[in-house]
């Protein structure tokens, strides 16, 4: 008589660590088909007692409870119509038991993200968990594991520095502008130039509540096109730069001009007329768009790309220095939960 096989928690997946962007982009060949497979219980019929699929731009991971010795083969057999299993196999890693639990804890805390400590992954795991509950595919093991990993992630973000500070240029520019101008809802932004970095930075400020965005540039068509993509965007002629700066609280400059387009002689008289309104200047151009002596003016705060990059590096270093401490605690918690869950793994 064959012994019933013990179920095992297994993670099969690939991420930005094992697969580059073009590989990841092509992994899911039929997104609707994948949704259908997950929705119609194909994985359950294939022998998975529990399953959860975490599908983000940086990872495709299957957390399964199954007695199968090779869950990857089962997955391949079930999802081959929706996933490029050859590419997936090539990039896949397999973790079992406590290692799988630890990995999920680290993923939720953002320790496995491309941008260390990022918060978006928490929402993505919650979405994946919600889908698993909708499909009734999360059972005793995955329910407890996911809930505890989300709690542990919250602990890590609050009690360690893995999420502290900003590491993207747009968010850093937004924070600096907030330190100067305060609440975004009442501030007016001027975007000078049509560079991609400048546009993304303006979008970061809009996402924080900025409601007036004016775009100007020598290329009127490009400026107009950008203004149309931005919420609350409008365009003004480059010849009206002076009055546009006078009305702005924050100026983001990203042109391809070889010489500074904003000089001290332009800003100094404007500041005499707006003594109670400080001006934030974010210069994202190389070579610089804003003359460096503008920073000496009272009530004017100038930040260039070096400043933003230094801040991003500082934040990243601070996060990196917290990784080991966060990992140690997360692994301890994961191991504790795994010991609790092991007896619940049922024989097939």
């Amino acid at each position: 008589m064959t012994q019933p096989q013990q179920s095992q928690l297994t993670l099969v997946g690939c991420s930005h660590v094992t697969a580059n962007l073009s590989t990841r982009e092509a992994l899911i060949t039929d997104p609707d088909g994948l949704s259908r497979c997950l929705g119609n219980g194909a994985l359950s019929k294939a022998g998975f007692q529990e399953w959860l699929v975490l599908n983000t731009c940086n990872r495709l991971e299957f957390y399964v409870v199954s007695p199968a010795a090779q869950p990857l083969d089962l997955l391949a057999g079930t999802l081959s119509s929706a996933v490029d299993m050859a590419a997936f196999r090539h990039a896949a890693y397999t973790l079992k038991g406590a290692e799988a639990a630890r990995h999920l804890f680290r993923v939720c805390a953002g320790l496995e993200s491309q941008m260390l400590g990022e918060n978006e992954i928490l929402g993505q795991v919650k979405t994946a968990y919600a889908d698993a509950r909708k499909h009734a595919s999360a059972g005793k093991v995955l329910n407890r594991l996911v809930q505890k990993s989300l709690q542990a992630a919250k602990w890590a973000r609050t009690n360690t520095g893995i999420s502290k500070g900003q590491v993207s240029i747009g968010n850093i520019a937004a924070e600096l502008t907030q330190r100067v101008c305060g609440d975004f809802s009442g501030i007016s932004i001027l975007l000078v130039g049509t560079g991609e970095v400048g546009t993304k930075t303006a979008q970061a400020l809009i996402s924080r509540g900025a409601s007036q965005v004016t775009v100007t540039g020598r290329n009127v068509e490009a400026a107009t096109a950008i203004a149309e993509t931005l919420e609350h965007g409008n365009v003004t002629a480059f010849s009206r730069l002076r009055s546009a700066i006078a009305n702005a609280d924050a100026v983001i400059s990203c042109t391809s001009a070889p010489e500074p387009v904003i000089q001290r002689e332009l800003i100094a008289p404007l500041m005499r007329e707006r003594l109670d309104r400080p001006l934030s200047l974010i210069d994202l151009a190389v070579p610089r768009d804003i003359a460096s002596d503008v920073a000496d003016l009272a009530n004017v705060y100038l930040f260039n790309l070096d400043d933003l990059a230094a801040l991003a590096n500082e934040s990243m270093q601070a996060r990196l220095s917290e990784v080991e401490r966060a990992k140690t605690t997360l692994h301890t918690r994961a191991d504790r939960i795994w010991e609790e869950l092991k007896p619940k793994l049922e024989p097939a």
Partner: protein, 284 residues
């Protein structure tokens, strides 16, 4: 026998200790801008404020007047006003970290007043009695000093934020400080409110001096007028858009130090009026 635990000095020391503890617990917030342990240091600060309120009330009862009769009482009252204003402003203006700064200032000034017992000289209660206008004058002066104290704190916060932004300092603490724009707005409001209170107080004081020139020393009047003049110049420059930003903040901070020093001449007790001599003539 007076219970030692309810003796006013015990209450003053307790409030000072609570302010010190509050400042100690607030330091992590100032160091890294973390929002914990905000409930703890706020509780300590509120506790210190409560004890100080009771102590000042007891002192005021004893004097039958607002306790501003010597430098000790003046400092305690001003600190009490600064802490109270800070607690209110935090709610109204959402000024992060103002209570942390208030706690540090409160701890420093209350300890300073308590370790110098000679500052707490006794004044005859009868010397403080006077027309109700005197009481209004005293209370307005206290309010103005407290507002100037709060202004000095917000000005310090402005200077820190301005220096950090100019110097490209990006620690979490500076991110938690209020924005430059908000601090400029708050500073302007505090200056106007404080100056109005001081103007009314000095005006009443001048009228009182004109009515009873021997009762109030000329030096006290001059110091008060000079202080008023310094703030008046600040207000005028501000209205003429010649004083703003970090220069404005520095001016407000320095003027408060001057105001604190002016406490000694202005909080001296009024002079004792000479009693008329009675001549006894024996009948021949």
């Amino acid at each position: 026998m007076v219970c030692p635990f309810t003796h006013e000095y015990t209450l003053f020391w307790t409030s000072a200790l609570l302010y010190v503890l509050s400042a100690g617990f607030a330091l992590p917030s100032l160091k890294d801008g973390s929002s914990r342990p905000r409930p703890l240091y706020l509780t300590m600060l509120a506790g210190g404020f409560l004890y100080q309120s009771i102590a000042l009330y007891m002192r005021g009862n004893e004097l039958q007047a607002f306790p501003l009769s010597n430098p000790f009482e003046s400092l305690q009252s001003i600190v009490w006003g600064i802490v109270g204003i800070g607690l209110v402003m935090r709610q109204i203006y959402r000024l992060n970290l103002i209570n942390a700064f208030s706690a540090i200032v409160a701890a420093a000034l209350t300890l300073l007043s308590l370790v110098n017992p000679v500052w707490d000289y006794a004044v005859e209660p009868s010397l403080l009695a006077g027309s109700p206008w005197i009481k209004v004058h005293v209370q307005l002066a206290m309010i103005s000093y407290a507002l100037f104290g709060a202004l000095a704190i917000t000005s310090l916060m402005y200077l820190l934020q301005d220096r950090a932004l100019k110097g490209k300092q990006f620690s979490n603490f500076f991110h938690k400080l209020p924005s430059i724009r908000k601090l400029e707005h708050v500073n302007h409001g505090l200056l106007m409110a404080a100056f109005c209170a001081l103007t009314l107080s000095v005006a009443i004081g001048v009228l009182n001096w004109l009515a009873q020139p021997t009762r109030v020393g000329l030096d006290k009047l001059l110091v008060a007028c000079l202080l008023w003049g310094a703030y008046a110049i600040t207000v005028i420059l501000r209205r003429r858009r010649q004083l703003f930003g970090s220069r404005f903040a520095l001016t407000c901070s320095c003027l408060f130090l001057v105001a604190l020093l002016s406490l000694w001449p202005v909080s001296r007790p009024p002079a004792i009026e000479p009693q008329p001599q009675v001549l006894v003539v024996s009948p021949r």
